[in-house]
């Protein structure tokens, strides 16, 4: 588990300048944590990198950006280190390196997912109405249960590695409350003053990224809740799909899909306008691929519902489930991992605040 020395060194160089300046301390959680140190060990820098959400406020506020000889670009330095840390902690190693960076690899994984689902639909039995007429419930569970659990295991290993790297201690309820509180309110995405961040249009503050991210997160959680409610209906109430529009899975799933689909496209549009040189340029393709994958999952899910009675159902089901399969399997190795790392970093930050 080695971070690349040039990223560590560059982050350290910049952190030392910021620590002598401190003008940006009001923007986010990175600066108070940074200012608590005098010398920066690799683990300190990893933690700072995972506290940063690349809002870029500190870049545009900085009097030392290029062409100044100090050449400050903290959002980039932290983004490079952050991505590198995800590579380093990923388990099994190597996979992250491929998918974090490359949208093409993500697309390839999707195609494999589609193909797998086509084959499954052909080969495995069908046993019901709606999409169960294409693929039976049991077959779906046989595919998706491991596809969901394996990535969780992988993430757990990665986070455990992160935790020991940054020297985390015993976690209390208070730490969790702090971390989830920050994340839920997206406190740091508000930019310290509530005007948002400098993401898509140089130094103009905007709430766009925060709102798009909220749409994606809420949409995702609604979709997840929809699937969970379907599972409960299926197993406990013996009420298998398809569900009517006024059922819980649909009431959660339709708005969820719309939010997720719109939010992901919005994020992609913002990302197109944002300057890649203020992030980790190597990871741009992987991040874009991931956002588009999310959009695909959402819109194909909605398509499934809209075209439920058409002949294309089997095709769309394979596309949707194939993308969902790719999404879950890649979870530990794509941008999706950031949410988990970020929460972990916030828990660690809560411990720092408490120890103060």
């Amino acid at each position: 588990m080695q971070m690349q020395p040039e990223f560590v060194e560059e982050a350290r160089r910049q952190a030392e300048i910021c620590n002598a300046c401190r003008y940006c301390e009001g923007y986010c959680a990175v600066f108070p944590a940074l200012q608590a140190e005098r010398a920066f060990a690799e683990a300190d820098l990893t933690q700072l990198a995972n506290l940063c959400h690349n809002c870029r406020n500190c870049y545009h506020a900085c009097q030392y950006t290029a062409p100044h000889e100090f050449d400050l670009n903290l959002p980039k330095a932290l983004a490079e280190l952050r991505h590198d840390s995800w590579d380093a902690f990923a388990w099994p190693g190597g996979l992250a390196r491929a998918f974090q960076r490359s949208g093409t690899m993500i697309a390839a994984a999707c195609v494999l997912g589609f193909a797998a689902l086509f084959l499954a639909a052909r080969a495995l039995p069908a046993d019901g109405e709606g999409f169960y007429a294409v693929l039976s419930h049991n077959a779906m569970v046989a595919i998706f249960a491991p596809a969901f659990l394996l990535p969780l295991l992988s993430l757990a290993v990665s986070l455990r590695r992160y935790w020991s790297h940054v020297g985390g201690g015993r976690i209390t309820l208070g730490h969790l409350r702090h971390a989830f509180g920050s994340a839920a309110k997206m406190r740091n995405l508000a930019g310290g003053h509530g005007d948002g961040c400098n993401f898509e249009d140089e130094d103009r503050f905007s709430q766009a990224r925060r709102q798009a991210h909220t749409a994606v997160l809420v949409g995702f959680l609604l979709c997840f809740a929809s699937t969970s409610s379907g599972t409960v209906l299926h197993y406990i109430f013996d009420a298998p799909a398809p569900y009517s529009l006024w059922s819980l899975p649909k009431l959660l799933g339709v708005p969820g899909g719309l939010l997720l689909g719109a939010g992901a496209l919005w994020l992609a549009a913002l990302k197109f306008r944002a300057d890649p040189e203020l992030g980790a340029p190597r990871a741009w393709g992987g991040e874009m691929g991931f956002v588009l994958l999310l959009a695909f999952v959402a819109w194909s899910g909605l398509g499934l519902w809209l075209l439920r009675d058409s002949a294309a159902l089997a095709l769309i089901l394979a596309l949707h489930l194939g993308s969902v399969l790719a999404f879950f399997l890649l979870m530990p190795f794509t941008k999706m991992a950031h949410g988990f790392y970020r929460l972990t970093a916030l828990v660690r930050d809560a411990q720092r605040l408490e120890a103060r």
């Binding site: 300046c21 401190r22 003008y23 900085c62 009097q63």
Partner: protein, 463 residues
């Protein structure tokens, strides 16, 4: 491109931007000529962190109250009475109303930065620092239709009788002229012109570092002085502080400050101490150290501390030199090892009881029988590793400037110039004769920038 602006504002820092906002809001067509390219726009204002603001009660991030009389008294103390009290009171009184105005125009404040607690009540800190303030104002003038030309160096204002009739400037390789109805000068001091500094200060000035922008070369100031526009202030007066000797020649800004002097001894090139390092807390002393260092051979000082003091001050941007013995450290500094060792030994021998040492306050832990003495925080320098920094004089701004009245208007011996106003550092000498109060530069720029903008617009709109 605007060929017939009503008002030309010269400069692109805080004072210029405040003037442009007021003028544009009053309906005038405003053009800003800024000498710097876009990435360096904003002059010294881009390096600032706060402004000093009077308040009768809690105001935005400011707690308690900081009333006019206290503010005036603070100012009188640092300037030794070299203050135009009428203009100073005008600036102070108006500052209270400026804070909400700044917020309404995009500036965001935060409570005082860590490590600056002493300013929590008196100074409002810009979130993100001065460059974020400058960015916010540029966004605002963009919405107001003000045009900005970067890389536009004003070279001459043609004064005919009591009016400015022409503004000459260089831009994109060519010379251009404009004849606006009114002009606001907000182009700062002349500290970036090292030759001018050397004329005022002597050859020592060649070794000074300039803390802020390289674009404040006083071109417009010199041009107006040559046309006998009324001036104020002493050319040899500048605000200078002691900063890290490795700082860049220009634009090093805040990070080059060194806060370790009170816990150190400082020797000159000959390895000798020259002043009481523990005279007062550092924020109150860093300005005089600029002059002290300027008076030493080669305008350099060397700070020596030992291991027990390394964590007592704000981290600095350049790592210190580090050695296991004083002799080795002296050699790394290029000083005579024997001489420095003797100076340290004399100092150590003069230290007494250090049990009441207290880094944050005047602790009275002093030397006895030493010249110069160290009157606080005097602890022997004995614990390796030893650390060294070099100190040089860093010039913040110059005081010589245009003399203005309470309407920010310029004048000649014959009376006011009808269409010329000045704001910011370029007229700060009208208020401050010497000395400096942290955060007052931005107060002057904001208050007089706004006045100049309103006055210029009123004149241009009536013409």
């Amino acid at each position: 491109m605007m060929d017939t602006p009503d008002i030309v504002v010269i400069g692109g820092g805080n004072a210029a931007l405040c003037a442009a906002i007021e003028a544009a809001e009053a309906g005038a067509r405003v053009l800003i000529l800024e000498a710097a390219p876009k990435p360096y726009r904003g002059g010294n204002s881009r390096h600032t962190r706060n402004f000093r603001c009077m308040h009768d009660g809690p105001l935005s991030v400011l707690v308690d109250a900081y009333e006019e009389e206290e503010y005036v008294a603070d100012l009188m103390k640092v300037t030794g009475g070299h203050t135009d009290e009428g203009l100073a009171r005008l600036a102070i009184r108006s500052s209270q109303e400026c804070l909400p105005w700044m917020e309404a125009h995009g500036v965001r404040f935060q409570p005082s930065l860590s490590g600056t607690l002493s300013l929590a009540r008196t100074n409002a800190f810009f979130m993100g620092g001065g460059k974020s303030l400058v960015n916010a104002y540029y966004r605002t003038i963009g919405r107001l239709g003000v045009e900005v030309r970067y890389d536009a160096h004003v070279t001459h204002l043609e004064l005919e009788g009591d009016r400015i009739t022409r503004v000459d400037f260089d831009h994109e390789g060519g010379s251009h002229s404009l004849s606006p109805r009114a002009v606001v000068v907000a182009s700062g001091g002349f500290q970036a012109d090292r030759n001018w500094l050397a004329r005022a200060w002597g050859p020592a000035a060649k070794n000074f570092l300039i803390r802020g922008t390289p674009y404040n070369r006083g071109v417009v100031l010199a041009d107006l002085l040559a046309q006998e526009v009324a001036s104020v202030g002493d050319p040899t007066q500048c605000h200078a502080v002691a900063i890290d000797g490795r700082a860049p020649l220009y634009d090093g800004g805040i990070v080059t400050r060194l806060d370790c002097v009170p816990f150190s001894i400082v020797v000159n090139k000959d390895g000798e101490r020259f002043y009481d390092e523990g005279e007062d807390v550092w924020p109150k002393r860093y300005a005089i150290w600029g002059r002290l260092v300027a008076a030493q051979p080669d305008q350099v000082g060397h700070v020596i501390i030992d291991a027990k003091s390394i964590n007592l001050f704000m981290p600095s941007v350049f790592p210190p030199l580090k050695a296991d013995s004083i002799e080795d450290l002296a050699e790394m500094m290029g000083l005579s090892a024997g001489k420095v060792a003797a100076t340290v030994a004399d100092f150590n021998a003069a230290c007494g009881d250090t049990s009441s040492f207290s880094p944050m306050e005047l602790d009275g832990v002093s030397t006895t029988g030493l010249t110069p003495p160290k009157t606080n925080w005097a602890r022997p320098i004995i614990e390796p590793p030893f650390y060294g920094y070099s100190l040089r004089t860093g010039v913040t701004f110059t005081y010589l400037g245009l003399k203005v009245d309470e309407r920010a208007q310029c004048a000649t011996a014959g009376g006011p110039i009808r269409n010329l106003w000045a704001a910011g550092e370029t007229m700060a000498g009208s208020i401050l004769g010497q000395g400096y109060l942290a955060g007052f530069g931005m107060t002057i720029g904001t208050v007089f920038g706004r006045i100049a903008g309103k006055e210029a617009a009123a004149y241009a709109n009536a013409a």
